[in-house]
Amino acid sequence: MHIYIGKRLLVAIPTLLIVSIFVFSLQKLLPGDPILAMAGEERDPQVIEFLREKYRLNDPVVYQYGYWVANVLQGDFGVSLRTNQPVLELIGEKLPVTIQLALMSMIFAFVIGVPMGILAAVRKNTVIDYVANIVALSGLSIPNFWLGIMLILLVSVKLGWLPASGYESVFVDPLRSLETTFMPAFVLGTALAATLMRHTRSAMLGVMKADYIRTARAKGLSERVVILSHTFRNALLPIVTLSALLFGELLAGAVLTEQIFTIPGFGKLIVDAVFNRDYAVVQGVVLCTAVGFILMNLIADVLYVLLNPRMRASL
């Protein structure tokens, strides 16, 4: 097992290297010069030159990349060109917000999507199946931002049950924190729930055709045991893999959702940084996201192995 995880981590290194090169070059290719943005209205050539020296922007690109990587490896992601705040500090501030949002929407997605998928599979081609499919299709086709705005209109403006925007940390006021993140997490979760439902349904249907399910029935097991134990445990395997991939979708969705609900999270951080051509922040955030994505996939792979005895043996 340790060897397996070690192997996977080793594979992650070149992936991260490629991501870092990509992120770095993308910056260089983007139109717009951050120095000009920093230098202010006057654009004093001396100031500009000073700033260029300071940020070593006069060195060859490869050197610049080298400096950056060397610093990152020492835990120094640089400072925001805009606010002079260390990037790591910014990330440390915003990341927990988005993690909370992501976790809550994952919970939403699983609580809604998986049981709905199981039910739709068991009651295939009945009203329940059709309704579940319509719900799922709606969840997939309704854009996040529209659903968000509608929810704000209904729940916050009309009914006044939940705040329309803002955020409170769990560590300060847990209840208030839940109130502020409930709607955005729900909005984010619905699209994932729909994908999960569709995949759970097809995974369940696939497993239900298996010979060993017939064996389970031939043993006289109750339908509940056949479905929830024998079928679902097997159908869970592809769902685990899918969840890690959904995580990427989640981050993309968070960008929009955080804007709508004005939540000071990762999504908002990256949008602001891109608009301000804040190189260091964008680099830090994208790298951090990549690490998160790789980590999620690693966790999914490890879970997959733990759930699947055939994989366990090959380790």
Partner: protein, 612 residues
Amino acid sequence: MSTMMTAAAHAEMPAVLSVEGLTTSFLVDGGWRPVVRNISFDVMPGETVAIVGESGSGKSVTSLSIMRLLARDQSRVEGRVLVNGRDILALSERDMQAVRGNEVAMIFQEPMTSLNPIFTIGRQISEVLRRHKGMSKAQARAETIRMLDKVRIPNAGARFDEYPHQFSGGMRQRVMIAMALASRPNLLIADEPTTALDVTIQGQILDLIKELQEEEGMSVLFITHDMGVVAEIADRTIVMLRGDVVEQGQTADIFRRGQHSYTRELLAAVPKLGSMHGHAWPLRFPIGDIGSGKAEEPIEVANTVDTRKTPVLSVRNLVTRFPIRSGLLGRQTGAVHAVENISFDLFQGETLSIVGESGCGKSTTGRSITRLVEPKSGEVHLDGYNVLSLDQPGLRAMRRSVQMIFQDPFSSLNPRMTVGATIAEPYLKHRLGSGGEAQGKVADLLRKVGLAPEMTDRYPHEFSGGQRQRIAIARALALNPKVIVADESVSALDVSIKAQVCNLLMDLQEEFNLSFLFISHDMAVVERISHRVAVMYLGEIVEIGPRAAIFDNPQHDYTKKLMAAVPVPDPERRGLRRGTSIDELKSPVRPAGYEPPRREYREVTAGHFVQV
């Protein structure tokens, strides 16, 4: 005490299973189509009844109807099924669950897929005991280990916590049997339980079922297509044809004095080991027609072999190994020695059969010769080509001389291509002629394999298994090859179809002077169509020689064991035991750096060599 006596002694007792007027229909295109029509039979206490028939006869549907395991919205079961006098078709689903796996248990054909891969085998057997006998976890564990011992799984205690993939096919079927017998059912339904197993393993499993039946005194309903298995295990036999029971009676009577023409035809088509004694050349199968049941005299294939010329295929010291990698850096830690230092010749017009059990390397041999897998070393000369040194264009040209026919006629044809396009494809790809010429060629080939030229525009799903295999043969013939590698080409076919396709191969051999490398595990078919036979074991040829020499005078222990294990359709053999040795097939996996020992061969008679 023989099972027959038990059956007689219990004759006065009520039947364990009594099927009365069972009709099962499936929902097809909105209408109910019956697939089993109004069948009735009894199974007495301690008795073994076999239902025999070909695919589509409704034998498996019958067993699933009794267990009520068919999808409820897609099927309708009518009639009465009495188990110990109670009509189980009238039970609620909940009450039926208490019957399944308890009074009536079932084992299935596919031991590889019939066990849940993510639960330990111990858990899966315990589940039955906890469900039906209300045992605690600890009690169930103890009883399960006892059952594993009973089905002769060595080291049962330690294997309780292992997963299905850690067991071989034969061992998994033992686990299935242990699971079925755990709750001491009155009736065991065995649906083709040995069909997917190697012949030596099949013998062991049949022995096991017979022994357990005597110990437990249960009844067995045995579903099979194999007349040899029927003869060996059944007290009484029911013959089914397209959903009807055409005949039932004592097994010996059915075999000797079968009344229905289909029964006689079925029996005539069954290849029998040893039936070729006294014949010098391959012999066609007698094909009867279902109407009269009379079979015409089979015709010997004319001598097609010319051993004076250079062989069309010559294999020397062929070695194919598959590396096994593991560890952090994927270092090679061993290898599957799939084909290990084999040599043989194949002459024009000759059929050389390679026989052996799964994993012996017979398929890899065929693929190595055509370079569908890359051999490690050796020499292959085929129709003037030095096969192992060919580049890609050379390889393409060489493949005009050798073609393959595979086992599964359902997956080896592209479902989106018409039959005509499939057959014409190799002809056109090798630029042997224009599109118009190809059409003529296709019509010609279809006729040659016994199909109508008008079928050229149809798709594979419109054909039966036997017809599809004919199409695959036509495709192989499109390039006028000299050698055809037939890899288990008739194994998936029903007996009567199998006989027809084998006859077709022999016809084609006579007409085109073809050479066949016939890869098969079916000894009886091999005996019928071969000129020479090679027996493979763990990647090596252990015995090779003329067909008559191998079958009449086998020398190697493995060859003898293989022949003894083949079920023969002779009811005299009922009660036969092969001994309880449960040796598994050994594995050809070797550690890195393993040097295979040098093998010596002894010539028994002219051309008959055996490994010493």
